[in-house]
Amino acid sequence: MITVGIDCGAKNTKTVVLKDGEIIAKTSIPTGFDQKKAINESLEKVLQSAGITAGQVDKIGGTGTGLKSIDMADVEVNEIKAMAKAGNYFFQSARTVADVGAEEGRVVKLDEKANVVDFAINERCAAGAGAFIEAMARALEVDLEEMGALALKSNKQIPMNAQCVIFAESEVVGLIHANTNKEDISKAIHDAMASRIVSMIRRVGVNKDVVMLGGVGRNPGFVEAMRRELNLDKIYIPEEPEFGAAVGAALVAAEKV
């Protein structure tokens, strides 16, 4: 059985091919302004990389901000459900899954069968999403990829007053003017963002094990800040966390075959 999961996100469109429960191909391309174009391209690419034709696909599951643009989806998968399925797929012990993407943050509490017990969503405020760190990287004039590594070099605690991205930008510029190290500023940024996601996790309850999905999971500075804030030994993260929701969509599609 072959299913495809497409996650059309605010920043990137991720697509995976699942064959009998194994991921055999995945692609990620920028969504840009034309969601449909990105979706078509992404699907074409992933099929090519899997070495299969569209006819061989049993079902397609769609999810993400651009779900309405995924015309070829047989199954429309709610993001919360996709997260729960994916968290359970990667780590069977997962009871709390946090998905932090470019423009949204979500937390879901699940049982051992990947059923959703409770959840919390932030899709209204950029302060609790990847966009926060991205904007701060711009203010610091540091590559987004370097931000996390920089934060890990600091052990200072500088509280950030501003919550809003717009105000935090000014605050970061103020810290730069006060000759604060980039490492320390970067850590302050990650701590601030982590505390926002953690407060969302606390709302649904901290249940072990905690799994992180979404592109922000690739940022070691953020993951470490989360771990510290949650007071846990480890946060479980799949190798390529940004494909979490797409994998979840493919899993749900497989259930409908």
Binding site: E103, R124, C125, Q163, I166, S170, G174, A178
Partner: protein
């Protein structure tokens, strides 16, 4: 503009002013109010409770320096030596960082007191839309606050949010209001509250073929709605007055007032100085009570 430097559309003119009809030498008490906001700072010099001179500047990265600079700028409009100042009150976001102030008073109290002065004692509801927060206050005929609500966590609906938008669209901030009415039909408001997301939404609308003016109208409407929700929660008692920089943006204010269903009060004064006026008036009241600086 120097080559290689990006034009800053958010930038508004800094100014200072002096009343030519007042001679500071005639005054018994000279009091100063310094309002160090997150985005702008004002200094107001009062002679026996009358506005003698003021300055309005952009806040720098360091509050004590901004306070000093804006006082110097106000003094520059006059020939008065700084030593003549009897009492100084600091207010605003950076009020505890005004090194030469005799005391600090919250901006809520100062804005209501200042609005009472620049708009008149009939004012009962004051809306202050500043760089970083939105405050709605109810006050009595003396400008004493009886109730207030404040939003200071989010840039939506604030002056800073508008500056970011002006920069994005490449429209000088002072032209935003007028330009937002150069449309055939009022578009629906931008649906995202968060300024970061509203920026992406606006870029999307431009790509769809909307004119800059239409996008401005949609954003001004969204800001008006955001501000309205705060005002509505507190309740409006006429007369209604607006202070802060946003009072100068008709794109937002006309749309807001249409929702409230009132005409805002008018003033000849710069609406940004209300907080500093209130601060200077508190200083004057203290001097009158004999609680001024010990000499």
């Amino acid at each position: 503009m120097p080559e290689g430097k990006k034009q800053e559309f958010w930038r508004w003119d800094e100014s200072n002013w002096k009343d030519p009809d007042i001679d500071w030498k005639d005054a018994k008490y000279i009091t100063v109010g310094i309002d160090v906001g997150s985005v702008s700072s004002q200094a107001v010099i009062m002679t026996d409770g009358q506005i003698y001179a003021y300055a309005n500047m952009r806040t720098g990265f360091d509050s004590p320096n901004s306070a000093r600079n804006v006082l110097n700028f106000a003094l520059k409009a006059t020939d008065m030596p700084e030593e003549r100042m009897d009492y100084c009150v600091g207010t605003g976001y950076g009020r505890v960082n005004v090194p030469f102030a005799d005391r600090s008073i919250t901006e809520i109290a100062c804005h209501a007191r200042g609005a009472n002065f620049i708009y008149g004692p009939e004012v009962r509801t004051v809306l202050d839309v500043g760089g970083q927060d939105i405050k709605a206050m109810q006050c009595d005929e003396k400008g004493k606050v009886t109730n207030f609500l404040m939003n200071d966590k989010c840039a939506a609906g604030t002056g800073r949010g508008m500056e970011v938008f002006a920069d994005l669209l490449g429209i000088p901030i002072t032209e935003v209001g007028e330009r937002s009415f150069q449309i055939d039909e009022e578009p629906p408001a931008v649906s995202n509250t968060c300024v970061v997301y509203a920026k992406s939404e606006a870029t999307g609308l431009l790509r769809k073929g909307w004119s800059t003016e239409q996008v401005l109208a949609a954003y001004c409407r969204a800001m008006a709605e955001r501000i309205y929700s705060l005002v509505e929660r507190m309740g409006v008692i006429p007369e209604f007055a607006i202070t802060g920089g946003m009072a100068k943006n008709r794109g937002v204010i006309d749309r807001l007032m249409a929702k409230i269903g009132l005409d805002p009060m008018k003033t000849k004064w710069d609406t940004q100085i209300a907080g500093a006026v209130g601060a200077a008036l508190f200083g004057y009241a203290l001097c009158l009570k004999g609680k001024g600086r010990k000499k």
